[in-house]
């Protein structure tokens, strides 16, 4: 039932998108700018969601993606300023994300933490830590503007500007798919989520595998977080992630932990998000629809799509549970 239902939903969504596009054309918002905005918005979602797919396959849940987005956005801009390079900023964001992911993984694996609560703690921490950081680093609360040269340069193509990070995100999804389904490491990751005791008996380290996926997931989310200011917005604000970490989680749930499906979900939610960003600045449209309703679009889309599609998904047997040797 799921394949058929999924195909039906995809068709429905495609139809809706086409309808939207033609409507927007008449309002003066071209498909090119919509495509640009959608791909930009897809990128952080895809990176974080693909990483989290691997992480959850290994049996660890990280609902602190939102917090990682926020922290790595600041870390990314800071690194970019120090090294005068947007790409260095992405690397810095990825590194900090990896550290936070590893810390959360260690808390889950060695501390046997309630992962949902630990992740929520991370989100709450970030909520306070980000304004604290903004004031501490730049003596200015709420917002920080950085020089435009630090933006990660985009490629100009016939289909509009495309960020190399977007291409990278697609590649990451493909690689994650191959890793998971074609390599020994991938089989081990899946096994550690399903039967950690068997993996343990086989002489492999459950803790190391889980720590590895947590770190990897954190690193990808960190790159995504740094991409928000450096690849997309061109500024740093304290609410920069605006729930996108949770939208990435929705992608993961939607995808049933399959990286390629997560990419598709990120594309869908990214379009809703990019659509909102594009509409908000399009003359002729922004006067007609209140900004507040436009801003709701990605969240409503996420809710509706998740409600329509999810149904029953099978997750790894031990997802969210710490492993202890008997």
């Amino acid at each position: 039932m799921t394949a058929r239902r999924r195909a039906g939903t995809a068709l429905l969504v495609a139809g809706a998108v086409a309808l939207f596009a033609s409507l927007l054309q008449r309002l003066g918002l071209g498909p090119i700018s919509l495509l640009e905005a959608g791909l930009l918005a897809m990128t952080p979602l895809a990176l974080a969601a693909v990483g989290e797919c691997l992480n959850e396959k290994a049996g660890v849940v990280n609902i602190g993606l939102e917090g990682i987005f926020m922290i790595s956005a600041v870390a990314g801009v800071w690194t970019a300023e120090v090294f005068s390079s947007g790409l260095a900023g992405l690397a810095g964001g990825g590194l900090v994300g990896a550290l936070v992911g590893a810390a959360l993984g260690a808390i889950s694996v060695y501390g046997r933490a309630d992962q949902i609560i630990a992740g929520m703690g991370l989100n709450i921490f970030a909520l306070g830590f980000i304004p604290f950081l903004l004031i501490s680093l730049w003596a200015f609360p709420g917002i920080h503007l950085f020089p435009n040269e630090l933006m990660v340069p985009r490629w100009f193509t016939p289909l509009g500007q495309i960020s190399p990070v977007t291409v990278g995100a697609v590649a990451v999804a493909v690689l994650a798919h191959l890793l998971l389904h074609r390599t020994v490491l991938g089989f081990r990751i899946k096994a550690v989520g399903e039967r950690p005791e068997a993996v343990d008996v086989a002489g492999l380290r459950v803790d190391r595998l889980r720590l590895f996926t947590s770190t990897l997931g954190g690193a990808l989310a960190g790159i995504g977080g740094a991409f928000l200011p450096l690849g997309w917005f061109g500024a740093l604000v304290k609410e920069i992630s605006a729930g996108r970490g949770f939208i990435a989680l929705a992608c993961v749930v939607f995808a049933g932990l399959e990286p390629m499906l997560a990419l598709g979900a990120a594309l869908l939610f990214g379009f809703a998000d990019g659509f909102a960003s594009a509409v908000a600045v399009t003359p002729g449209v922004k006067e007609r629809i209140p900004f507040y309703f436009v801003s709701m679009i990605p969240y409503i889309t996420t809710l509706v799509v998740v409600a329509l599609v999810i149904g029953q998904r099978r997750f790894p047997r031990t997802v969210g549970r710490p492993y202890a040797r008997e």
Partner: protein, 347 residues
């Protein structure tokens, strides 16, 4: 909390958790070039330095005990309702709509505005509840999405329909007939704290004194057993969300009709924003117990109020307090820490 075993000596552990959180915070303060001792002294003096400060701390604690209740009732029913934030925004709008727009006789007006806030919060909570029951949508995702939708909806309503004459920075203020009486001249504490505590007490009595409350807890602790006992799981889900929404709605109302000097909702929602998330930490420290939440709220209220003096005297941004809350929650999540501690002490 699911599946976590109950630990002895909870008070010692909580103290240790809070100390660990504060120590980690001290590291942060130090790392960014401030003096941690000076910061914490200001934090403490700011929170408890005088009678007025204690009363102000109580004023800060009032919304937190309610948003903590939202999360706690969810956990008791086996749910992870992090929607207090949005339910609180909508509650604040509901309260100000009645308090600012509809003239009513004194007493009636106050009750009506309070009820409007609660009902608005409760109704907003029905959305994720129904999505959960009918479509199996995980409440973490649905409540975050409804939080953001509530944010934009509330801002829209506040700016579009509720703005005061000649001002863009906040809604119209609550009419004097819809304001909770101020308890002292020197603090912003109003009688709304009694309503908040009474609501927490009522939920406690509901959970531990009624059959429906027992079923709710059973569904949270042991869903299998609850099913065999014929507990209506969908009913429990909706009930816990609605109680949580009422609490969050009251929290929103408490910041509007129960808090001078504005008696209004700021256009940026600045006077309610993040109180819902802070409630999660409060609930966890309060062990997801309605009355534990009241006590924990006092602690977090102290941090919030003391943070202002810390910012003023030691130059440490008061937002650090919220980072501390997060660190405390993360420490609380780690049961193995207690095993380690116990072993260390047993030696």
């Amino acid at each position: 909390m699911r599946g976590r075993r109950r630990l002895p000596r909870p008070l010692i552990e909580l103290t240790a958790t809070i100390v660990a959180g504060l120590a980690a915070g001290a590291l942060l303060v130090f790392a960014f070039g401030h003096d941690p001792i000076r910061a914490y002294r200001a934090l403490f003096v700011g929170a408890f330095g005088s009678v007025q400060d204690v009363l102000e701390t109580l004023a800060f604690a009032t919304p937190l005990m309610l948003t903590a209740l939202t999360f706690a009732v969810g956990v008791r029913a086996g749910l992870f309702n992090i929607g207090a934030e949005g339910q609180m925004y909508v509650g604040a709008v509901g309260a100000i709509a009645v308090a600012g727009l509809i003239p009513l006789p004194p007493g009636v007006h106050l009750a009506a505005a309070t009820a409007a806030g609660m009902v608005a919060g409760g109704l907003w909570a029905v959305v994720p509840a129904l999505l959960k029951v009918t479509r199996g949508v995980h409440e973490v995702i649905s409540t975050i999405m409804t939080n953001w939708i509530a944010f934009y909806l509330s801002t829209y309503l506040a700016l579009g329909f509720l703005t005061g004459a000649g001002r863009g920075d906040s809604t119209r203020p609550a009419l004097p007939t819809a304001r909770y009486p101020v308890l002292t001249e020197d603090a912003t504490l109003t009688a709304v704290i009694f309503v908040a505590v009474a609501f927490c007490l009522a939920v406690y009595l509901y959970l531990w004194g009624t059959r429906a409350g027992y079923e709710l807890r059973l569904a949270g602790e042991n869903p299998e057993a609850a099913r065999y006992a014929g507990v209506n799981a969908a009913g429990v889900t909706v009930m816990s969300f609605v109680i949580g929404g009422l609490a969050a709605g009251l929290a929103g109302a408490s910041q509007i009709i129960g808090r001078p000097p504005a008696w209004a909702l700021y256009a940026t929602l600045g006077n309610v924003v993040t109180l819902g998330f802070d409630g999660i930490g409060v609930a966890l420290v309060g062990r997801n117990h309605p009355l534990g939440g009241v006590l924990a709220a006092f602690l977090f209220g102290a941090l919030a109020h003391g943070g202002r003096l810390m910012e003023y005297q030691a130059g440490v941004p008061s937002e650090l307090v919220r980072a501390l809350n997060g660190l405390i929650v993360m420490t609380l999540a780690v049961p193995e820490l207690w095993t380690l501690l116990r072993r260390r002490f047993a030696r």
